[in-house]
Amino acid sequence: MSGLRIINPGARSTVQDSGRRGYRRHGLSAGGALDIHSFSWANKLLDNPANTACVEILLGGFEAEAEADIVVGVAGAATSVRVNGSPRDGWQTVQLAKGDRLAVDPTRSGRITYLAAPGGFDTATWFGSRSVVVREKIEGIEAIRKGDILSPAHATARYQPRQVPERFRGRYSDRLTLRLVPAAQYSLFQRDDLLRLTTSTYRVSNQSDRMGFRLEGPALEQVPQGIISEGIAVGSVQVPGDGNPIVLLNDCQTIGGYPKPGTLGALDAGKLAQRLPGQELEFYFANVADIQNERVVFHRFFSETRWHTDGYSLSWR
């Protein structure tokens, strides 16, 4: 099989699908695409099912050569990519001919760009998933390296050109408001600290990766003591003794003993994951039913809409 030959993986690129299912009790992280919104759109451009493996490119600097004619779906931080040096818009299908060079440049706004291929990239499956968790250092589960060849599962050389409608595209320079479901230790936090958390502006710090995002801003002052370690939901906001909140993301540990006032939903966690250091955000508490509803509608949209022949609009079945 031939596909994309990696010339430069950039700051960090990995293959990600929706993550592992059923392995956290063995201490294995969930993994999976950090931003399910742009991940789902990259796949939708090629009519891939929801759990299809994409390349997740952090920050850019990615370059690859097509070893055969291949179409890719591009969604996320890169508002444009280059093919043999010429710019093409992001959030659409990009047709590559054999020998073409695709480059995803460092992004000015947004952190993550997804590349989808017809049927997904056919990489090794570990723990029921193609998601790569580099942190666990398991032999064979590695980030994308120079010289790797990523082959699409389907040999679809050409595809109908498609663009994600403008109103559905992510906008990552907007100020962010994130909704928290009250978590198990909500009531252990002092009221003043919960007010501080929801009335202050926090900034994304430099210490932000696939495990979690550390935030800068007013520290909470009377953090409850450590708790008995318990399972961690992805999106949990944990507050260690120094009072600075950390939002835990897909590659976080499976259990932990820091108290957690609330949890972000997957869509909000994805919006956060797209933010660069210094970007500002705020929290407020919301109802789990509302957030769950929105998430269900989100997934149904991708499974139950179809593209029109114009390649630019969709309708529900």
């Binding site: 956290r24 259990i255 957030i291």
Partner: protein, 230 residues
């Protein structure tokens, strides 16, 4: 018993406020029951000390139904439970783990002996003298938190964690003990090393929450024979 939604796709079952040796078995039993139902909506189960985090697919089921399902599963009478044995709780797997205890393989062994006014042999016999319960798996794949060690050898974590703890290292942190499945940074006080594989991608974690573990001392030669590395 408390059942709370902690996110849009997970529910936390809290069994008690304090750690006890019987809880992990009860939590493991609930895990088994949930898995035996082959629920389409189930994504993951994370048992730990006093809790079980149940992660589900919100497209398949909503949080109220998951909570109601868990309420029923927790309260299911044992006689109607096909996974129940004649005793009150299911059989437990017991692991017998060989350990080469020595200053060479456990760089904190002599320190603990000094701190606790014990001989090295006494530290070893305290550590091998008890059967431990696996409370949780975490920190790294296959890393089992076990307890409780005798207070006579309980020792706090190191102030500065080591940047590299070799695979198989057996450590103590307060009243817990564990074996590092692979080389990693770590802050536990190291008393020996085991040749046993605690995690591999095919067989996954050797230890499961609710299992029992005993350690027994082996010589340097036996340790090396069993595949241990120094």
């Amino acid at each position: 018993m408390k059942i709370t939604a902690v996110s849009e796709d997970s529910v936390l079952v809290t069994f008690a406020d304090a750690i006890s040796d019987t809880l992990p078995r009860r939590i493991a039993l609930l895990c088994n029951r949930i898995e035996a139902d082959h629920n389409e909506w189930l994504v993951d189960l994370v048992p730990s000390y006093t809790t079980l985090l149940v992660i589900y697919d919100p497209v398949e089921i909503d949080f109220r139904r998951v909570e109601a399902y868990l309420e029923r599963s927790v309260r299911m009478p044992r006689e109607t439970d096909p996974h129940s044995t004649s005793s009150d709780l299911p059989d437990q797997t017991t692991h017998d783990i060989p350990v080469y205890y020595s200053p060479e393989s456990g760089p904190d062994l002599e320190w603990i002996a000094r701190e606790k006014n014990l001989s090295v042999d006494e530290v070893v016999s305290y550590h091998t003298g008890k059967t431990y319960t696996v409370y949780a798996i975490g920190f790294a794949p296959g890393f089992g938190f076990m307890g409780e060690v005798d207070p006579a050898i309980a020792a706090p974590r190191k102030d500065t964690p080591r940047s590299r703890v070799p695979a198989g290292s057996v450590g103590i942190a307060n009243r817990q003990t564990a074996v590092y499945p692979k080389a990693s940074p770590g802050g536990w006080q190291l008393i020996g090393r085991s040749p046993v594989t605690l995690f591999d991608p095919t067989n996954l974690s050797l230890l499961n929450v609710g299992d029992l573990v005993r350690f027994h001392p082996v010589s340097r030669e036996r340790f090396l024979e069993l595949g241990g590395e120094l």
